[in-house]
Protein backbone atom coordinates (compact mmCIF):
# COMPACT_ATOMS: atom_id res chain seq x y z
CA UNK A 1 0.00 0.00 0.00
CA UNK A 2 1.61 3.26 -0.96
CA UNK A 3 1.30 6.45 0.96
CA UNK A 4 -0.76 8.53 -1.44
CA UNK A 5 -3.41 5.82 -1.56
CA UNK A 6 -3.92 6.08 2.18
CA UNK A 7 -3.63 9.84 2.11
CA UNK A 8 -6.34 10.12 -0.51
CA UNK A 9 -8.67 8.04 1.58
CA UNK A 10 -8.00 10.09 4.68
CA UNK A 11 -8.40 13.51 3.05
CA UNK A 12 -11.54 12.22 1.37
CA UNK A 13 -12.96 11.11 4.67
CA UNK A 14 -12.11 14.41 6.33
CA UNK A 15 -13.89 16.31 3.57
CA UNK A 16 -16.96 14.13 4.00
CA UNK A 17 -16.99 14.67 7.75
CA UNK A 18 -16.75 18.42 7.17
CA UNK A 19 -19.82 18.32 4.99
CA UNK A 20 -21.67 16.29 7.59
CA UNK A 21 -20.71 18.88 10.17
CA UNK A 22 -22.40 21.56 8.10
CA UNK A 23 -25.64 19.64 7.77
CA UNK A 24 -25.63 18.77 11.46
CA UNK A 25 -25.15 22.41 12.43
CA UNK A 26 -27.99 23.34 10.14
CA UNK A 27 -30.14 20.71 11.72
CA UNK A 28 -29.58 22.17 15.15
CA UNK A 29 -30.26 25.76 14.15
CA UNK A 30 -33.90 26.81 14.08
CA UNK A 31 -35.50 26.99 10.69
CA UNK A 32 -36.52 30.34 9.25
CA UNK A 33 -39.71 28.86 7.83
CA UNK A 34 -42.82 30.99 8.19
CA UNK A 35 -45.66 28.58 8.62
CA UNK A 36 -48.21 29.91 6.22
CA UNK A 37 -51.22 30.15 6.59
CA UNK A 38 -51.08 30.34 10.37
CA UNK A 39 -48.34 32.93 10.08
CA UNK A 40 -47.65 35.29 7.21
CA UNK A 41 -44.50 36.97 6.10
CA UNK A 42 -44.72 40.76 5.90
CA UNK A 43 -45.34 42.16 2.45
CA UNK A 44 -42.99 44.90 1.35
CA UNK A 45 -44.70 48.24 0.72
CA UNK A 46 -43.98 48.01 -2.99
CA UNK A 47 -45.52 44.59 -3.36
CA UNK A 48 -47.25 44.23 -6.70
CA UNK A 49 -50.53 42.46 -6.63
CA UNK A 50 -53.02 42.86 -9.43
CA UNK A 51 -53.87 46.47 -10.17
CA UNK A 52 -56.78 48.24 -8.51
CA UNK A 53 -58.48 51.54 -8.96
CA UNK A 54 -57.94 54.17 -6.31
CA UNK A 55 -61.00 55.87 -4.88
CA UNK A 56 -61.36 59.61 -4.83
CA UNK A 57 -61.72 60.76 -1.23
CA UNK A 58 -64.40 63.32 -1.96
CA UNK A 59 -66.72 61.19 -4.07
CA UNK A 60 -65.86 57.71 -2.89
CA UNK A 61 -65.89 56.57 -6.50
CA UNK A 62 -62.87 55.77 -8.68
CA UNK A 63 -60.52 58.63 -9.33
CA UNK A 64 -60.12 57.40 -12.89
CA UNK A 65 -61.04 59.75 -15.71
CA UNK A 66 -61.35 56.98 -18.29
CA UNK A 67 -58.66 58.45 -20.48
CA UNK A 68 -57.45 55.04 -21.61
CA UNK A 69 -53.78 55.80 -21.16
CA UNK A 70 -53.27 52.71 -19.05
CA UNK A 71 -54.94 50.51 -21.59
CA UNK A 72 -52.70 51.90 -24.33
CA UNK A 73 -49.58 51.52 -22.23
CA UNK A 74 -50.22 47.93 -21.35
CA UNK A 75 -47.99 45.61 -23.37
CA UNK A 76 -50.36 42.69 -22.98
CA UNK A 77 -53.63 44.42 -23.74
CA UNK A 78 -55.24 43.45 -20.51
CA UNK A 79 -57.12 46.60 -19.61
CA UNK A 80 -60.44 47.55 -21.09
CA UNK A 81 -61.85 50.94 -20.10
CA UNK A 82 -65.11 52.46 -21.20
CA UNK A 83 -66.15 55.75 -19.76
CA UNK A 84 -68.78 58.39 -20.19
CA UNK A 85 -69.45 61.90 -19.01
CA UNK A 86 -72.27 61.95 -16.51
CA UNK A 87 -74.64 64.92 -16.81
CA UNK A 88 -73.34 68.07 -15.23
CA UNK A 89 -69.92 66.71 -14.37
CA UNK A 90 -66.74 67.93 -16.04
CA UNK A 91 -64.74 64.73 -15.86
CA UNK A 92 -65.44 61.48 -17.54
CA UNK A 93 -65.81 58.50 -15.28
CA UNK A 94 -65.48 54.82 -16.11
CA UNK A 95 -68.51 52.67 -16.61
CA UNK A 96 -66.47 49.59 -17.31
CA UNK A 97 -62.95 48.84 -16.12
CA UNK A 98 -61.94 45.31 -16.79
CA UNK A 99 -58.62 43.67 -16.16
CA UNK A 100 -57.59 40.42 -17.73
CA UNK A 101 -55.30 39.30 -14.98
CA UNK A 102 -54.47 36.04 -16.72
CA UNK A 103 -52.46 38.03 -19.25
CA UNK A 104 -51.07 40.69 -16.92
CA UNK A 105 -47.35 40.58 -16.36
CA UNK A 106 -47.44 42.91 -13.37
CA UNK A 107 -45.03 45.22 -15.10
CA UNK A 108 -46.57 48.36 -13.72
CA UNK A 109 -46.56 50.38 -16.94
CA UNK A 110 -50.27 51.11 -16.53
CA UNK A 111 -49.80 52.41 -13.03
CA UNK A 112 -47.02 54.67 -14.21
CA UNK A 113 -48.86 55.98 -17.20
CA UNK A 114 -51.98 57.09 -15.37
CA UNK A 115 -52.15 60.88 -15.38
CA UNK A 116 -54.25 61.12 -12.23
CA UNK A 117 -52.64 58.34 -10.20
CA UNK A 118 -55.84 56.38 -10.24
CA UNK A 119 -54.19 52.96 -10.28
CA UNK A 120 -52.42 51.11 -7.52
CA UNK A 121 -51.32 47.61 -6.74
CA UNK A 122 -53.42 45.48 -4.49
CA UNK A 123 -51.91 43.44 -1.73
CA UNK A 124 -53.64 40.21 -2.71
CA UNK A 125 -51.05 37.50 -2.96
CA UNK A 126 -52.99 34.34 -2.33
CA UNK A 127 -55.17 34.40 -5.41
CA UNK A 128 -57.43 31.48 -6.11
CA UNK A 129 -60.75 31.20 -7.83
CA UNK A 130 -63.23 28.57 -8.91
CA UNK A 131 -62.80 29.28 -12.60
CA UNK A 132 -60.76 31.20 -15.06
CA UNK A 133 -63.46 33.81 -15.55
CA UNK A 134 -62.78 35.28 -12.12
CA UNK A 135 -59.39 36.46 -13.24
CA UNK A 136 -59.75 36.80 -16.97
CA UNK A 137 -62.29 39.58 -16.56
CA UNK A 138 -61.84 41.19 -13.20
CA UNK A 139 -64.18 44.06 -12.64
CA UNK A 140 -62.09 46.70 -10.97
CA UNK A 141 -65.04 49.00 -10.34
CA UNK A 142 -66.37 46.80 -7.56
CA UNK A 143 -63.59 47.37 -5.08
CA UNK A 144 -61.12 50.16 -4.63
CA UNK A 145 -57.63 50.17 -3.32
CA UNK A 146 -57.18 50.99 0.31
CA UNK A 147 -55.03 54.00 1.16
CA UNK A 148 -52.23 51.63 2.10
CA UNK A 149 -51.65 50.63 -1.47
CA UNK A 150 -51.64 54.18 -2.69
CA UNK A 151 -48.26 54.95 -1.27
CA UNK A 152 -46.62 52.58 -3.66
CA UNK A 153 -48.33 53.76 -6.79
CA UNK A 154 -45.31 55.79 -7.77
CA UNK A 155 -43.39 52.73 -8.84
Amino acid sequence: MNWSYAQNIITGLVSLVKGMQVTMTTMLTPSPTVEWPSETAPLPPRFRGHIMLVADESTGFARCIACGACSRACPSNCIQVIGEKPEGVKKKSPTLFQLDFTKCSLCGLCVESCPVAALAYSRDYALAGPDRQVYSSMDLLTGFASPLTEQCHEL
Partner: protein
Protein backbone atom coordinates in the same frame (compact mmCIF):
# COMPACT_ATOMS: atom_id res chain seq x y z
CA UNK B 1 -40.71 -29.93 12.79
CA UNK B 2 -44.15 -31.26 13.51
CA UNK B 3 -47.05 -29.07 12.63
CA UNK B 4 -48.73 -28.48 15.92
CA UNK B 5 -51.16 -25.89 17.13
CA UNK B 6 -48.32 -24.12 18.86
CA UNK B 7 -46.25 -23.91 15.71
CA UNK B 8 -49.20 -22.60 13.71
CA UNK B 9 -49.86 -20.02 16.36
CA UNK B 10 -46.24 -19.12 16.38
CA UNK B 11 -46.20 -18.69 12.61
CA UNK B 12 -49.26 -16.50 12.71
CA UNK B 13 -47.75 -14.43 15.49
CA UNK B 14 -44.56 -14.10 13.53
CA UNK B 15 -46.36 -12.86 10.46
CA UNK B 16 -48.41 -10.42 12.47
CA UNK B 17 -45.41 -9.24 14.42
CA UNK B 18 -43.23 -8.70 11.40
CA UNK B 19 -46.00 -6.94 9.53
CA UNK B 20 -46.43 -4.67 12.50
CA UNK B 21 -42.73 -3.95 12.75
CA UNK B 22 -42.47 -3.30 9.03
CA UNK B 23 -45.52 -1.04 9.00
CA UNK B 24 -44.63 1.01 12.04
CA UNK B 25 -41.03 1.23 10.97
CA UNK B 26 -42.00 2.52 7.53
CA UNK B 27 -44.31 5.15 9.00
CA UNK B 28 -41.71 6.26 11.44
CA UNK B 29 -38.68 6.15 9.17
CA UNK B 30 -40.34 8.05 6.37
CA UNK B 31 -41.39 10.66 8.88
CA UNK B 32 -37.89 10.73 10.36
CA UNK B 33 -36.32 10.99 6.95
CA UNK B 34 -38.46 13.94 6.02
CA UNK B 35 -37.88 15.63 9.33
CA UNK B 36 -34.13 15.12 9.17
CA UNK B 37 -34.04 16.28 5.57
CA UNK B 38 -36.14 19.30 6.42
CA UNK B 39 -34.09 20.43 9.35
CA UNK B 40 -30.85 19.89 7.49
CA UNK B 41 -32.13 22.23 4.81
CA UNK B 42 -33.50 25.09 6.88
CA UNK B 43 -36.97 23.62 6.58
CA UNK B 44 -39.37 22.02 9.01
CA UNK B 45 -40.51 18.84 7.32
CA UNK B 46 -44.06 17.64 7.91
CA UNK B 47 -45.85 19.49 10.67
CA UNK B 48 -49.55 19.32 9.93
CA UNK B 49 -50.86 15.76 10.21
CA UNK B 50 -50.77 14.51 13.78
CA UNK B 51 -48.39 15.69 16.47
CA UNK B 52 -45.16 16.91 14.83
CA UNK B 53 -46.57 15.60 11.57
CA UNK B 54 -46.04 12.02 12.74
CA UNK B 55 -49.07 10.75 10.88
CA UNK B 56 -48.01 12.33 7.60
CA UNK B 57 -46.86 8.98 6.26
CA UNK B 58 -50.20 7.41 7.10
CA UNK B 59 -51.93 10.13 5.14
CA UNK B 60 -49.51 9.68 2.25
CA UNK B 61 -50.03 5.96 2.37
CA UNK B 62 -53.79 6.41 2.14
CA UNK B 63 -53.30 8.72 -0.78
CA UNK B 64 -51.10 6.22 -2.57
CA UNK B 65 -53.58 3.45 -1.83
CA UNK B 66 -56.38 5.38 -3.42
CA UNK B 67 -54.44 6.24 -6.53
CA UNK B 68 -54.79 4.47 -9.79
CA UNK B 69 -52.08 2.03 -10.69
CA UNK B 70 -51.05 2.70 -14.23
CA UNK B 71 -49.85 -0.21 -16.30
CA UNK B 72 -47.79 0.94 -19.27
CA UNK B 73 -49.27 -0.56 -22.40
CA UNK B 74 -45.98 -2.07 -23.49
CA UNK B 75 -45.13 -3.42 -20.06
CA UNK B 76 -44.62 -7.09 -19.39
CA UNK B 77 -47.50 -7.22 -16.96
CA UNK B 78 -46.69 -10.33 -14.90
CA UNK B 79 -43.13 -9.15 -14.34
CA UNK B 80 -44.37 -5.65 -13.72
CA UNK B 81 -46.62 -6.88 -10.93
CA UNK B 82 -44.15 -9.38 -9.57
CA UNK B 83 -41.25 -6.95 -9.19
CA UNK B 84 -42.38 -4.99 -6.12
CA UNK B 85 -43.47 -8.20 -4.45
CA UNK B 86 -40.11 -9.82 -5.05
CA UNK B 87 -38.53 -6.73 -3.58
CA UNK B 88 -40.65 -6.84 -0.47
CA UNK B 89 -41.13 -10.50 0.48
CA UNK B 90 -37.46 -11.42 1.04
CA UNK B 91 -36.96 -8.56 3.47
CA UNK B 92 -40.06 -9.69 5.31
CA UNK B 93 -38.68 -13.20 5.61
CA UNK B 94 -35.23 -11.98 6.48
CA UNK B 95 -36.61 -10.35 9.61
CA UNK B 96 -37.50 -13.79 11.01
CA UNK B 97 -34.13 -14.70 12.52
CA UNK B 98 -33.42 -11.17 13.81
CA UNK B 99 -33.39 -11.14 17.61
CA UNK B 100 -34.67 -8.05 19.36
CA UNK B 101 -33.68 -9.40 22.75
CA UNK B 102 -32.55 -12.70 24.16
CA UNK B 103 -36.06 -14.03 23.98
CA UNK B 104 -37.81 -11.76 21.53
CA UNK B 105 -37.08 -13.42 18.25
CA UNK B 106 -39.39 -14.92 15.68
CA UNK B 107 -37.35 -17.97 15.08
CA UNK B 108 -33.86 -18.91 16.12
CA UNK B 109 -31.81 -20.29 13.24
CA UNK B 110 -28.23 -21.33 13.60
CA UNK B 111 -27.55 -20.05 10.10
CA UNK B 112 -29.55 -16.86 10.58
CA UNK B 113 -26.87 -14.59 9.19
CA UNK B 114 -26.49 -16.65 6.05
CA UNK B 115 -30.22 -16.56 5.47
CA UNK B 116 -30.30 -12.80 5.80
CA UNK B 117 -27.42 -12.35 3.39
CA UNK B 118 -28.95 -14.71 0.87
CA UNK B 119 -32.35 -13.07 1.02
CA UNK B 120 -30.72 -9.66 0.76
CA UNK B 121 -29.56 -10.57 -2.71
CA UNK B 122 -33.09 -11.09 -3.92
CA UNK B 123 -33.76 -7.38 -3.61
CA UNK B 124 -31.62 -6.79 -6.67
CA UNK B 125 -33.63 -9.34 -8.57
CA UNK B 126 -36.75 -7.34 -7.80
CA UNK B 127 -35.10 -4.19 -9.07
CA UNK B 128 -33.95 -5.93 -12.22
CA UNK B 129 -37.44 -7.24 -12.89
CA UNK B 130 -38.92 -3.81 -12.29
CA UNK B 131 -36.50 -2.22 -14.69
CA UNK B 132 -37.02 -4.84 -17.34
CA UNK B 133 -40.72 -5.35 -16.99
CA UNK B 134 -41.96 -1.84 -17.47
CA UNK B 135 -40.26 -1.26 -20.82
CA UNK B 136 -38.86 2.09 -19.96
CA UNK B 137 -35.35 3.08 -20.87
CA UNK B 138 -34.68 4.99 -17.71
CA UNK B 139 -35.90 2.07 -15.65
CA UNK B 140 -33.75 -0.32 -17.61
CA UNK B 141 -30.69 1.83 -17.09
CA UNK B 142 -31.44 2.05 -13.39
CA UNK B 143 -31.90 -1.68 -13.10
CA UNK B 144 -28.74 -2.46 -15.00
CA UNK B 145 -26.84 -0.13 -12.73
CA UNK B 146 -28.23 -1.92 -9.70
CA UNK B 147 -27.10 -5.24 -11.08
CA UNK B 148 -23.72 -3.93 -12.13
CA UNK B 149 -22.89 -2.73 -8.67
CA UNK B 150 -23.99 -5.82 -6.79
CA UNK B 151 -20.65 -7.62 -6.66
CA UNK B 152 -18.78 -4.46 -5.87
CA UNK B 153 -20.45 -4.18 -2.50
CA UNK B 154 -21.51 -7.73 -1.73
CA UNK B 155 -18.03 -9.15 -1.57
CA UNK B 156 -16.63 -6.45 0.72
CA UNK B 157 -19.80 -6.77 2.76
CA UNK B 158 -19.20 -10.45 3.32
CA UNK B 159 -15.53 -9.84 3.98
CA UNK B 160 -16.58 -7.42 6.71
CA UNK B 161 -18.92 -9.95 8.24
CA UNK B 162 -16.42 -12.81 8.22
CA UNK B 163 -14.14 -11.41 10.95
CA UNK B 164 -17.16 -11.08 13.19
CA UNK B 165 -18.08 -14.68 12.52
CA UNK B 166 -14.52 -15.66 13.32
CA UNK B 167 -14.73 -13.79 16.61
CA UNK B 168 -18.12 -15.13 17.55
CA UNK B 169 -17.66 -18.57 16.10
CA UNK B 170 -21.26 -18.87 14.98
CA UNK B 171 -23.71 -17.93 12.24
CA UNK B 172 -26.59 -17.53 14.62
CA UNK B 173 -27.54 -13.91 15.13
CA UNK B 174 -28.50 -14.53 18.72
CA UNK B 175 -25.24 -16.27 19.55
CA UNK B 176 -23.27 -13.42 17.96
CA UNK B 177 -24.84 -11.01 20.40
CA UNK B 178 -24.34 -13.38 23.29
CA UNK B 179 -20.68 -13.63 22.32
CA UNK B 180 -20.42 -9.87 22.71
CA UNK B 181 -21.86 -10.06 26.18
CA UNK B 182 -18.72 -11.57 27.60
CA UNK B 183 -16.26 -9.41 25.71
CA UNK B 184 -16.70 -5.94 24.24
CA UNK B 185 -18.83 -4.99 21.26
CA UNK B 186 -17.23 -6.19 18.08
CA UNK B 187 -17.08 -2.66 16.75
CA UNK B 188 -14.16 -2.11 19.14
CA UNK B 189 -12.33 -5.19 17.93
CA UNK B 190 -13.17 -4.55 14.32
CA UNK B 191 -13.39 -0.81 13.76
CA UNK B 192 -12.28 -1.12 10.14
CA UNK B 193 -14.78 -3.83 9.36
CA UNK B 194 -17.47 -1.84 11.12
CA UNK B 195 -16.74 1.22 9.06
CA UNK B 196 -16.53 -0.67 5.79
CA UNK B 197 -19.74 -2.47 6.63
CA UNK B 198 -21.45 0.86 7.13
CA UNK B 199 -20.42 1.98 3.65
CA UNK B 200 -21.35 -1.36 2.15
CA UNK B 201 -24.87 -1.31 3.56
CA UNK B 202 -25.35 2.19 2.23
CA UNK B 203 -24.58 0.76 -1.17
CA UNK B 204 -26.65 -2.31 -0.54
CA UNK B 205 -29.75 -0.37 0.35
CA UNK B 206 -29.36 1.90 -2.68
CA UNK B 207 -29.04 4.96 -0.56
CA UNK B 208 -27.36 8.17 -1.53
CA UNK B 209 -24.50 8.71 -2.25
CA UNK B 210 -24.84 5.35 -4.02
CA UNK B 211 -28.44 5.71 -5.13
CA UNK B 212 -27.87 5.60 -8.85
CA UNK B 213 -30.45 2.92 -9.43
CA UNK B 214 -32.97 5.70 -8.82
CA UNK B 215 -30.78 8.77 -9.47
CA UNK B 216 -33.61 11.19 -9.95
CA UNK B 217 -31.56 13.86 -11.69
CA UNK B 218 -30.27 11.38 -14.25
CA UNK B 219 -32.86 8.65 -14.59
CA UNK B 220 -36.04 10.44 -13.51
CA UNK B 221 -36.87 7.79 -10.91
CA UNK B 222 -34.74 4.91 -12.05
CA UNK B 223 -36.20 1.46 -11.85
CA UNK B 224 -39.54 2.58 -10.45
CA UNK B 225 -40.17 5.33 -12.99
CA UNK B 226 -43.30 3.66 -14.28
CA UNK B 227 -44.75 2.58 -10.97
CA UNK B 228 -47.55 4.51 -9.41
CA UNK B 229 -49.92 4.25 -6.51
CA UNK B 230 -49.64 1.27 -4.25
CA UNK B 231 -47.03 -0.51 -6.32
CA UNK B 232 -44.75 2.44 -5.99
CA UNK B 233 -45.27 2.48 -2.25
CA UNK B 234 -44.39 -1.23 -2.09
CA UNK B 235 -40.96 -0.32 -3.43
CA UNK B 236 -40.73 2.33 -0.81
CA UNK B 237 -41.78 -0.07 1.88
CA UNK B 238 -39.20 -2.56 0.68
CA UNK B 239 -36.50 0.06 0.66
CA UNK B 240 -37.20 1.27 4.16
CA UNK B 241 -37.61 -2.23 5.53
CA UNK B 242 -34.37 -3.18 3.90
CA UNK B 243 -32.69 -0.26 5.58
CA UNK B 244 -34.18 -1.40 8.85
CA UNK B 245 -32.95 -4.92 8.31
CA UNK B 246 -29.46 -3.83 7.34
CA UNK B 247 -29.28 -1.57 10.38
CA UNK B 248 -30.51 -4.35 12.62
CA UNK B 249 -27.82 -6.69 11.31
CA UNK B 250 -25.24 -3.94 11.72
CA UNK B 251 -26.18 -3.39 15.33
CA UNK B 252 -26.20 -7.11 16.04
CA UNK B 253 -22.83 -7.70 14.42
CA UNK B 254 -21.00 -4.70 15.72
CA UNK B 255 -22.85 -2.90 18.47
CA UNK B 256 -23.98 -5.77 20.63
CA UNK B 257 -27.60 -5.97 19.55
CA UNK B 258 -29.88 -5.65 22.52
CA UNK B 259 -27.03 -5.33 25.02
CA UNK B 260 -26.95 -2.13 27.03
CA UNK B 261 -27.36 -0.90 30.57
CA UNK B 262 -30.58 0.09 32.36
CA UNK B 263 -33.02 0.13 29.44
CA UNK B 264 -34.61 -3.14 28.38
CA UNK B 265 -33.07 -5.03 25.48
CA UNK B 266 -35.53 -4.29 22.65
CA UNK B 267 -35.28 -0.58 23.35
CA UNK B 268 -31.53 -0.72 23.03
CA UNK B 269 -31.87 -2.67 19.84
CA UNK B 270 -34.23 -0.10 18.37
CA UNK B 271 -32.04 2.77 19.49
CA UNK B 272 -29.08 1.23 17.73
CA UNK B 273 -31.09 0.52 14.62
CA UNK B 274 -32.34 4.08 14.41
CA UNK B 275 -28.86 5.34 15.05
CA UNK B 276 -27.79 3.58 11.86
CA UNK B 277 -30.84 4.77 10.01
CA UNK B 278 -30.10 8.30 11.08
CA UNK B 279 -26.53 7.95 9.86
CA UNK B 280 -27.79 6.82 6.46
CA UNK B 281 -30.13 9.77 6.30
CA UNK B 282 -27.33 12.05 7.30
CA UNK B 283 -25.23 10.70 4.43
CA UNK B 284 -28.07 11.05 2.01
CA UNK B 285 -28.80 14.65 2.82
CA UNK B 286 -25.20 15.71 2.75
CA UNK B 287 -23.44 14.10 -0.17
CA UNK B 288 -23.70 14.31 -3.92
CA UNK B 289 -24.14 11.06 -5.79
CA UNK B 290 -21.06 9.24 -6.97
CA UNK B 291 -20.88 8.07 -10.54
CA UNK B 292 -21.45 4.42 -11.39
CA UNK B 293 -17.91 3.73 -12.48
CA UNK B 294 -16.54 5.60 -9.49
CA UNK B 295 -18.59 3.47 -7.19
CA UNK B 296 -17.33 0.32 -8.84
CA UNK B 297 -13.77 1.58 -8.60
CA UNK B 298 -14.37 2.41 -4.98
CA UNK B 299 -15.83 -0.99 -4.28
CA UNK B 300 -13.12 -2.96 -6.02
CA UNK B 301 -10.08 -0.84 -5.33
CA UNK B 302 -10.71 0.49 -1.85
CA UNK B 303 -13.39 -1.47 -0.06
CA UNK B 304 -12.34 -4.91 -1.24
CA UNK B 305 -8.58 -4.74 -0.52
CA UNK B 306 -9.06 -3.12 2.86
CA UNK B 307 -11.72 -5.51 3.99
CA UNK B 308 -9.77 -8.46 2.66
CA UNK B 309 -6.67 -7.29 4.46
CA UNK B 310 -8.68 -6.77 7.60
CA UNK B 311 -10.09 -10.24 7.34
CA UNK B 312 -6.70 -11.83 6.77
CA UNK B 313 -5.17 -9.99 9.71
CA UNK B 314 -8.05 -11.02 11.94
CA UNK B 315 -7.75 -14.60 10.82
CA UNK B 316 -4.00 -14.53 11.37
CA UNK B 317 -4.31 -13.07 14.84
CA UNK B 318 -7.02 -15.54 15.71
CA UNK B 319 -4.87 -18.43 14.51
CA UNK B 320 -1.93 -17.29 16.58
CA UNK B 321 -3.91 -16.75 19.76
Amino acid sequence: MMITEISILRTLLTIAGITLVVGINAVFVVWLERKVAGHMQFRLGPTEVGPFGLLQTVADGLKLLSKQIIFPSSADTPIFILAPIICLIPVFVALVPVPFSKTLQAHELDIGLLLVIALGLLNTLGILLAGWGCDNKYALLGASRAVAQILAYKIPLLLCILPVILLAGTFSLREIVVAQQESMWFAFYQPVAFFMYLIAITMETNRSPFDFAEAESELVAGFHTEYSGMMFSLFFLAEYTYMFLASAIASILFLGGWLGPILPGPIWMLLKIYFFLFLMMWFRWTFPRVRVDQMLTFGWKILLPISLLNFLITAGVMAVL
